[in-house]
Every structure is written in structure tokens, then in C-alpha cells.
């Protein structure tokens, strides 16, 4: 004991520098290589209550600081000979009592270490707050990013469940409103991929669920008794019993967006203040995304229904004659435009079918609506297809009496198979003349002429008849094809001559291949340039008279 006191006394005398930091605003302690507290200033004495000179460091300070000292003396020992003062050592951090400190070591050559203990509690609190805030911002940015990316309801549900199960609870279930007892839902556990399912269940059996699904009256998020949870609400893979469950409505804008059910295995039935804000911000984003997706889905359903009859029909073999069609609307985003075609099958194989192809002036939806009207009118007039000119007169009258100010050009083709040949009656009403690809490679322009419909009180037209031998094709097309502007030099029209030259290479091709070839050449000619609507119909006399083995499902099998 006496020896120790002596030792310390001598050390204390040696350290006259105490005066230099004795009044420093920070706690300072000096510890020797053996871990004994050699000296401390008044600030340190009041911080480390009960610590006196001579006490063992491990008893005077928390373990983290004692460990830091051991680490520092060991590394100083190793690097003995180096100039220890060259570079400042990194600080250690830890708590002393209720506050947080940074401990800066300053070893000297004698093996003692002077520790400066700097209170960084405030800084640490700010740092923690910043980290939380950053994490929240990053999560909300990710959530917005992922949720806004898709207008698909299923995907929005899955993403919402997945994110919620990663950040708000251990498992999450998203349920969206639906007609009847079928509940579409998505479940996720622990941030894993969400599973999309549909259950048949009564939402009213879960407290608060059916109100939240209706979206009105507004209901707050509520914690419910886990015992009242039906099995279908507990996702597969959720470990252990449910400790607590919350039903959170997702705010949709004017439409009910859905409900988020959060499941935890612990019994904590409260969000803390931070989580509460967080949950609300998340619910707002998820609700906005889900309601946007629902609106989009409803709108596209409506559009699809309204457009169904405006889309060009799929053409196939009718009464022993091959028909093929091709359609490219002017704008890539549109599916319909001002061009149209139809094939109305004859009621028996002996009756002629009527093929129609036309072009309403104008593009896009407005034009498409008028094509719908013309197509309906023509369908009603098919019994008169024996007299094309009369049909055109009636159509002209109907168009003049409507509020539409647009006019149309079209070509009518009555098509009847007779033995192996196909008989055609063709009438153009202000439309480019049909072209016939003969088996000998000639391309023939059919000389039918007539006035366009919907503009003048009287219309006239000349019908021309021709026959197709097996393998020959008659092509009806709209001027979008020939007026395609482009080519290697950028500003030339595709033109009728080029079309005829292209068709001359198509002798004996199936109609579908002719249509595709012309479409391909025209679109390559355009080379991404703008174009008008383009429509094509090929009428082909089949090469063989066999049963159609290939499309046995089409009506009008032809046997000889």
C-alpha cells in the first residue's frame, strides 16, 4: 500500500501539466499502462462519481472506456518507436451515466494515456434523429417510387403489403373492395414477396373491416382483438400467434382504396409517435396509388368495351375463300382510326360474302366513331349487296342526314367461290382501285370508279367483275399505304408504282403473307416517320380444295 502511494505521489509530481488541463471545460483522466487512474481533473471527478487517484480504471469508468484504454495501450506498445503524436487517434464513444461521451486518447511516451472525455449527447441525439429521418425519407421515397410505377391494382396491392411488412409490422395484408363476398387480397411476411390471393369471406366478421372497405364514413385506424382474427387473415409463414393486429383504412381520393391489416407477434398495441406519422404518410401514398390504379382499370374497362366494335375484325377463311386483314393506326398509342374493314359472310357457301374496306376523312377516335356508324349501316345493307351502287346511295343518304360533317371513301367486294375460282364484283367509291396479283406475276388494277360518300347529294359508281384463279389475290388498301412518306431519301411517297412492284413479287403467296409484306415495306419506307392510318384486305382463292386441316375451327369448311 505504502509503495503504491509513493508511486502515485511521484507520478503526480511529475505531471505538472495537470495545471494546464485542470481547469479544462472537459473531463480529463490520466491512466497508466496497468490500468490505474493516475490523475483526473475536477470535471472528471464530478462526472465519474467516486473515482479517485489510484483507483482501478475498470471500477471508475464503464466497461467500454476501460476496454478502450486496454486497446489503446496495446496498440501503443506495438507501435513503440513511432512518434505517437503524429496523428490523432480515433475517438471512442459510449455512455457514462445518462449521457453520451466521445473519449479521445492521447498516449505519451511513458505509457500513460490522457483521456479527454467530451460530452456529445446533444450531437448524438441530433445524429440519431437525422438517421431516423433519413431512413423514413428513404422509405417514403422508395414507397412512392415503387407505388407510382404501376397502374396495375394487383401490383400496387403486393407492393403495399410487402413494404408495410418490412417497415410497420411483421406481416401485412392488403384487402381491396370488390363486389360480392370475394375479397381480393395480398399478404406479405417480413418484407418478403407478397402473395396475391382471393378469399371468399364475410368482411363484416372482422371488426372495422367492412366499414374501412366502404371508405365511408371515415374510420380511424384501430387495434383489434387478435382473437377475433379469422384464419384467412393470417398469412402463411407468420410465425407464432398474433400478439396484436391493426386495421388501417387506406385513404382513396373519392373511391375506396382498400384496407391495410398489420399483424405483430408482440402485444404492443400502440404505434409510438414516430411510427404513427410514418404509418399515416405511408397509408396516404399507398391509398393514392391504389385508387389511381382502380380508376385506371375502370377507365380501361370502359374503353375496352366501347372500342370492342371499333377494332378491326380478325379475318379468316369464309365460304372457301381466304381473307386476311392488316391494320396500323396513325398514332402508336391508338388502336383504332379512320380506316376500317369488314367481311360479312354470305348466308350459305353459294351466296356471296361482302368485303368492305374504307377510309373516313380524319384520324384517331373521332374518325373511328364514324367508321363504327358506317360499318353498322353497311352491315344492315348487306342484303342489298347484289347492287353495290344502290348500297352506296343508301349509305350516302344516311351519312348526309347525320350530324357528322366527314365523308368517306370505300371499296365494296362481293366474293363468291365457284368451283376452284373466286368471282369478284368490285366497286370503288372514291377509293384507290383494288389490285389483283395474277399467277403469271402481272399486277392488275381493277378499273372501278365512283364518287366518295357523305359529301354530295348524288353518288355514282361503276362495278367491275373479275375472277381469281387458285393462288391469285385481290388486294384492297387505303391511301395510307401509298401516301407513306419516307424512303432512303426521306421525302418520297411510297406510291402506287412501288406498291405494284412489291406485289409483283408476291405471286402465289398466301393472302396473310401479302398483307404482311406490304405492311412491312410501307413501315420500313416510313422509317419511324409519321403516317396516316393504313388498312389492307387480301382476298385469295385457295390453292387447294382440300378440307381446311389447318383451321378446322373456322366456319365454312369447303369441300368439293
Amino acid at each position: 500500500m505504502a509503495r503504491l502511494k509513493e508511486h502515485i505521489a511521484s507520478r503526480t509530481q511529475k505531471h505538472t501539466t495537470t495545471d494546464l488541463w485542470g481547469s479544462a471545460p472537459y473531463a480529463v483522466i490520466v491512466v497508466d499502462g496497468a490500468g490505474t487512474l493516475v490523475d483526473l481533473n475536477p470535471a472528471a471527478a464530478s462526472l465519474l462519481e467516486g473515482a479517485v487517484r489510484g483507483s482501478a480504471l475498470s471500477e471508475a469508468v464503464p466497461p467500454w472506456l476501460a476496454n478502450a484504454h486496454r486497446e489503446t495501450t496495446e496498440s501503443t506498445g506495438r507501435s513503440a518507436g513511432d512518434d505517437g503524436a503524429a496523428s490523432p487517434r480515433p475517438a471512442f464513444r459510449g455512455r457514462i451515466g445518462a449521457r453520451s461521451f466521445a473519449a479521445h486518447p492521447a498516449p505519451d511516451r511513458g505509457g500513460d494515456v490522457t483521456w479527454w472525455l467530451i460530452d456529445d449527447t446533444e450531437q448524438r441525439l441530433v445524429e440519431e434523429e437525422l438517421a431516423t429521418e433519413r431512413e423514413r425519407t428513404a422509405f417514403l421515397a422508395e414507397a412512392s417510387n415503387v407505388l407510382l410505377a404501376s397502374l396495375n391494382t394487383d401490383r400496387c396491392m403486393q407492393v403495399t403489403a410487402q413494404l408495410a411488412s418490412r417497415h410497420l409490422a411483421e406481416a401485412a395484408v392488403v384487402i381491396v373492395p370488390a363486389a360480392g363476398r370475394q375479397l381480393p387480397m395480398a399478404c406479405a411476411v417480413g418484407g418478403g414477396t407478397a402473395v396475391r390471393t382471393t378469399v371468399t369471406a364475410d368482411a363484416a366478421r372482422v371488426p372495422g373491416l367492412s366499414e374501412a372497405l366502404q371508405g365511408f364514413p371515415p374510420v380511424p385506424s384501430r387495434w383489434i382483438d387478435p382473437a377475433s382474427l379469422p384464419d384467412w387473415l393470417i398469412p402463411e409463414g407468420f410465425a407464432g400467434p398474433v400478439g396484436s393486429a391493426a386495421v388501417t383504412p387506406l385513404p382513396g381520393h373519392g373511391v375506396p382504396a382498400g384496407v391495410l391489416v398489420l399483424l405483430r407477434s408482440t402485444g404492443s398495441t400502440e404505434f409510438n409517435e414516430n411510427e404513427e406519422v410514418f404509418a399515416r404518410l405511408f397509408a396516404a401514398r399507398a391509398g393514392a396509388a391504389l385508387s389511381a390504379a382502380r380508376l385506371y382499370a375502370e377507365q380501361s374497362d370502359i374503353t375496352r368495351t366501347l372500342m370492342r366494335d371499333l377494332l378491326p375484325p380478325r379475318l379468316d377463311r369464309v365460304n372457301g375463300v381466304d381473307f386476311a386483314g392488316g391494320y396500323q393506326p396513325a398514332a402508336a398509342r391508338d388502336r383504332v382510326g379512320g380506316d376500317f374493314y369488314d367481311v360479312h359472310p354470305g348466308s350459305t357457301p353459294g351466296d356471296a360474302s361482302l368485303a368492305v374496306l374504307g377510309d373516313v376523312c380524319g384520324k384517331g377516335l373521332d374518325a373511328a366513331v364514324l367508321t363504327g356508324k358506317i360499318r353498322n349501316t353497311l352491315q344492315a345493307l348487306t342484303p342489298m349487296a347484289g347492287d353495290h351502287e344502290r348500297m352506296l346511295r343508301l349509305l350516302n343518304g344516311a351519312l348526309l342526314n347525320s350530324h357528322h360533317t366527314r365523308f368517306a371513301t370505300l371499296v365494296l367486294a362481293s366474293v363468291r367461290r365457284e368451283e376452284s375460282r373466286v368471282r369478284l364484283r368490285l366497286t370503288s367509291a372514291g377509293h384507290p382501285a383494288p389490285l389483283v396479283i395474277r399467277n403469271d406475276g402481272r399486277v392488275e388494277e381493277i378499273d372501278t370508279r365512283g364518287t366518295l360518300v357523305g359529301a354530295l347529294p348524288h353518288v355514282e359508281a361503276r362495278t367491275v367483275e373479275t375472277d381469281l384463279r387458285p393462288g391469285e389475290t385481290c388486294l384492297l388498301y387505303t391511301d395510307g399505304v401509298t401516301e407513306a412518306r419516307g424512303g432512303p431519301l426521306g421525302d418520297e411517297l411510297f406510291g402506287e408504282r412501288r406498291l405494284m412492284r412489291a406485289l409483283a413479287e408476291c405471286g402465289g403467296m398466301p393472302g396473310a403473307a401479302v398483307v404482311e409484306r406490304v405492311q412491312m415495306l410501307a413501315s420500313q419506307w416510313l422509317h419511324d416517320g409519321r403516317h396516316d392510318d393504313m388498312a389492307l384486305v387480301a382476298i385469295t382463292a385457295p390453292l387447294t380444295t382440300h378440307l381446311s386441316a389447318v383451321d378446322g375451327h373456322t366456319r365454312g369448311r369447303y369441300t368439293r
Binding site: 410505377a149 396495375n152 390504379a293 380501361s300 432512303p488 403467296m509 398466301p510
Partner: protein, 364 residues
């Protein structure tokens, strides 16, 4: 090309019979070959991949070698298409979807539909619900479809390298709505390097391996905030691609004019010959453009070598490509990436002409 694993005599015999039917433009005989094989128990996937696909590959090769006409090539494709449709209706083939949902589409302006069609059928056979959107799908339609119907993955097909910029637009758009993209088709290179360059989530060389990859699962891309298309291809910052593509008509016109002033023969061309020449030049400019877009010389030099082969098959001297490069080099001298690319292509062409030249001499 036809790296089919199942080259048994039975399959080879079927290939020959289908080839004969297809080149005779006999749709019924073609359907009969395949349907009879199904009845004999060949298996629908094998019929698609070991019989129809190799025959279709052969059609492409024969056309390039000038042994099939344009009409025959189109007819063969149309027939193959209908045979596949007939196969899909065969009672032994129907499969109820039990796996996820896949959208199969061709890139905008891509007309070669068969590779995509084969994949769609193989996936259907393996139990996927497949939405087949067909040839040349504009990107807005593809994205609209994904919003409406969702998909676990989009399989995107492109066979022509000049469509790579369009493929890039489609890939980034699909990923932006959270759907991963598997790319396939000749356009992406024999090793798929263009697909990876464009950021596709996966690439596979054929329908079978693509189906396996889709079954293994392709992770959903996480849309990074503020990501832009040019992040994958930073060299686009020099705008040379845009400038070359935009000035395509002027470049073609200039090359044509220079050719006519240098070669009396070219000045005597008929309108139709002149147009063919203009179209060939336009193709060369297109491939120069896509090589600039991808920053990959091979796309340009490879095309020139291929064109030389085609010209050779059609008895046109490949040396006629040389002056085109000379004029392009002069016209594009202010664009560093373009002009050095044209220079390097000139060297490749010289080397090619030297070897073919020596061969023909030794033959002669």
C-alpha cells in the same frame, strides 16, 4: 444455328418433310406432317423446337444465300405460323395454366414474329398463362397491357440489330413499371451482350432455355429514383447517334451523288437500281447509327461483312462498299466517334476483300 438437342433420325426426317411442304407452299401438307408427328407421340414441344424451329432457321439461311425468293420466304413464315396455330389446337397439346403470367412481345417495328411465337407456345405448354402481343408492338401498347393485366415477366423479342434502340426504350419502360424483362432474338447478339448492355434482367439463346429461366424466377427490378435511359449508355451524351440518324436522308443523298460523280456506271443506273442503291446506303447508315447507340463497332463492321456476303451471293462485287465508307468518312469527319468507326470498318472491309480476292485468284 439449329442447335437442337434432339437430332434423332425421326426428327431429321420430319424436318425434311416439313421443309419440302413449306417450300412447296403446301400449307396442308405442312400441317399434316406436324399433326401426324403429334399423333405418333413426338411431343408438342419437340415438334415446335426440333422440327418447326430448325426448318424456319433454314428458311432464313437459304434466303440469305439467294436460294429462296422473298415470296417463298414470306410464304414459308406464313405457313409455319398457321402450322403452329394448328398444333396449338391439337387435343394432345392443351394445357391448363397453373404457373404465373408472361407477356411475350416483339419490339416495335420488328416483323419477325416466329421466334416469339415459338416461345409463347413453349411457355403455354409448360403451364404459363401467356399473353402473346405479336409482331411490332409499340411500347405504349406494351406498357398499357402491363398496367391492365400485369405480368411476372415480359419476354421481348428482336431479330434486327437496328431495332436495339427501340428495344432499349421497351426494356426501360417495362422495368419502370416494375416488370422484369427477358430479352431474346438475334438482335441481342449470339452471346446476349447487347441485352445486358441495355439493362435487360435476363437473356437466353432459345425458347427452351428462356422457359427454364422464367421458371427459375427473374427478380423484380427495383425502379431507382430518377434513373434515366442514358444512365446505361453514357456515351450517348455526345449526341452523335441522334445527329447521324437525323441526317440519314442527307447522308444517303450525298453518298449517292458522290458515287454517281465517281463512277460512270452508277450515273447510268435506272430509277429502280438507283433506289436499291439508296436503300442499301440507308441500311449502312442505320447500322452505323445503332453501332453509335450501343458504342459497339461490331454492329457496324459485322453488318458490312454480312452485306458483303449477301452481295457476293447476288454476284455484286463487295468492293462497291468501299467508296460508300469513303464518302461517309468524309461527311462525318466532324464526329469523332462516327469517323473513327467508319475508319475501322474500312480496315475490316479491306482485310475481307484481301482474303476473298486471293481466294478467287487461287481458284481462277
Amino acid at each position: 444455328m439449329s442447335t437442337h438437342t434432339c437430332a434423332e433420325p425421326q426428327v431429321l426426317g420430319l424436318q425434311d418433310r416439313l421443309w419440302t411442304a413449306v417450300t412447296d407452299r403446301d400449307e396442308h401438307a405442312a400441317a399434316a406432317v406436324v399433326l401426324a408427328a403429334l399423333d405418333d407421340g413426338i411431343g408438342a414441344e419437340s415438334a415446335l423446337m426440333d422440327v418447326i424451329a430448325p426448318v424456319q432457321a433454314r428458311v432464313g439461311l437459304e434466303w440469305a444465300a439467294n436460294r429462296l425468293s422473298v415470296a417463298q420466304e414470306h410464304a414459308a413464315s406464313a405457313i409455319a405460323e398457321r402450322v403452329i396455330a394448328a398444333l396449338a389446337h391439337h387435343p394432345s397439346v392443351r394445357t391448363a395454366p397453373r404457373l404465373g403470367r408472361v407477356t411475350v412481345a416483339c419490339v416495335d417495328q420488328e416483323w419477325h414474329v416466329l421466334p416469339a411465337r415459338l416461345l409463347a407456345e413453349v411457355l403455354t405448354l409448360r403451364g404459363w398463362q401467356v399473353d402473346f402481343l405479336g409482331a411490332q408492338v409499340p411500347t405504349p401498347h406494351l406498357i398499357g397491357h402491363l398496367h391492365n393485366n400485369g405480368a411476372d415477366v415480359v419476354a421481348l423479342s428482336s431479330s434486327i440489330p437496328t431495332r436495339l434502340p427501340a428495344a432499349h426504350a421497351a426494356i426501360t419502360a417495362c422495368q419502370a413499371v416494375g416488370v422484369p424483362v427477358l430479352a431474346g432474338g438475334a438482335a441481342f447478339g449470339p452471346d446476349g451482350r447487347h441485352a445486358l448492355r441495355l439493362g435487360a434482367d435476363a437473356w437466353e439463346p432459345d425458347a427452351r432455355s428462356a422457359a427454364r429461366r422464367i421458371a427459375d424466377g427473374i427478380p423484380v427490378p427495383v425502379p431507382a429514383a430518377g434513373k434515366q435511359q442514358t444512365d446505361d449508355l453514357p456515351h450517348l451524351g455526345d449526341q452523335e447517334y441522334t445527329l447521324v440518324v437525323r441526317s440519314r436522308p442527307q447522308l444517303v443523298r450525298e453518298v449517292l451523288a458522290q458515287l454517281e460523280s465517281r463512277f460512270p456506271a452508277a450515273a447510268a443506273y435506272t430509277d429502280q437500281q438507283r433506289e436499291h442503291t439508296a436503300q442499301d446506303i440507308a441500311h449502312i447508315v442505320d447500322h452505323l447509327g445503332v453501332a453509335l447507340y450501343m458504342d459497339d463497332d461490331e454492329l457496324f463492321t459485322g453488318f458490312l461483312v454480312w452485306t458483303a456476303g449477301i452481295l457476293d451471293a447476288r454476284r455484286v462485287p463487295a468492293a462497291s462498299l468501299k467508296p460508300v465508307l469513303d464518302v461517309l468518312g468524309t461527311e462525318l469527319k466532324d464526329f469523332p466517334r462516327s469517323s473513327s468507326l467508319v475508319d475501322r470498318a474500312g480496315l475490316v472491309l479491306d482485310a475481307l476483300l484481301a482474303t476473298t480476292g486471293s481466294r478467287s485468284r487461287s481458284l481462277g
